[in-house]
């Protein structure tokens, strides 16, 4: 019965792209965090989180994403989201993620934005 999300990682230079597939709850959030930190450790300075295949998140998952964002900020890196459904976009904004991380409609735009920053 579990719909917990899978996370795929791709690296292009110093940009790491993590794509999620499924429900981001606390377990999903932790998986994203684990992979994000691994990417940061191996030299990535920018993260793009593509949530195209995710339609449901919960506030605990989001709070873990906030932690990831904080870590990225600590290292003076960049984090951008893309592929958000209108509802997830709205929810992120409610929780203040938009203040510190940029949200883009497509992966290409997100990568472009963090690569040049």
């Amino acid at each position: 019965m579990s719909e917990v999300c899978r996370v795929a990682a791709e690296r292009r230079g110093n940009v790491a792209i993590l794509s999620t597939d499924g429900y981001i709850n606390n377990q999903g959030g932790e998986e994203i965090a684990r992979q994000a930190y691994a990417q940061l450790e191996s030299g990535a300075s920018a993260l793009v989180l593509n949530l195209e295949k995710t339609r449901i998140v919960n506030s605990i998952g989001i709070s873990i994403l906030i932690e990831v964002l904080e870590k990225v900020m600590d290292r003076k890196g960049q984090l951008a989201f893309c592929g958000l459904t209108p509802t997830i976009d709205k929810t992120f904004r409610i929780m203040g993620l938009a203040q510190y991380a940029a949200i883009y409609p497509t992966e290409a735009e997100a990568i472009r934005a963090v690569a040049t920053a």
Binding site: M1, I56, N58, S59, T87, T91, G96, Y100
Partner: protein, 145 residues
Amino acid sequence: MSLDANGAREISLTIPVAPDMEIVATAQAAAVGEFIEMPRDKIDEVKLALVEACINAFEHAQARDDLLHLIFRVGRENAREFLEVEVLDRGKGFDQASVELPSPEKTFSGRQKRGWGLQIMRSLMDTVAITSGEGGTRILMRKYK
């Protein structure tokens, strides 16, 4: 076939307090929402709000019988159709007044990462009414089509 005028269009669902059971609830919400042809984005909002209501109950309620009771209703008010969800738990309840509302500043300074559930529910649903006491908590949320 159509229901008698007195027939309530109510759908009950009881789920165990267990990980990912909130997904069963959202599936039910989707079924009802699609039935009244609510736009997809609005259904998503109902689902996210419902997820928050459920995990709120899971975490705070410590439900005595380990079950969460939901009732889905469709109705009409002033010619506007709505979908309503009632989430009931028989846990220990909480005092709404004492819930410190979260804010982005607080979240980012590391002081409060939880407590977003109520905020999200209120932002995504049109009306939210919460009653909580010794016998449990009842969250009643409604979204118009």
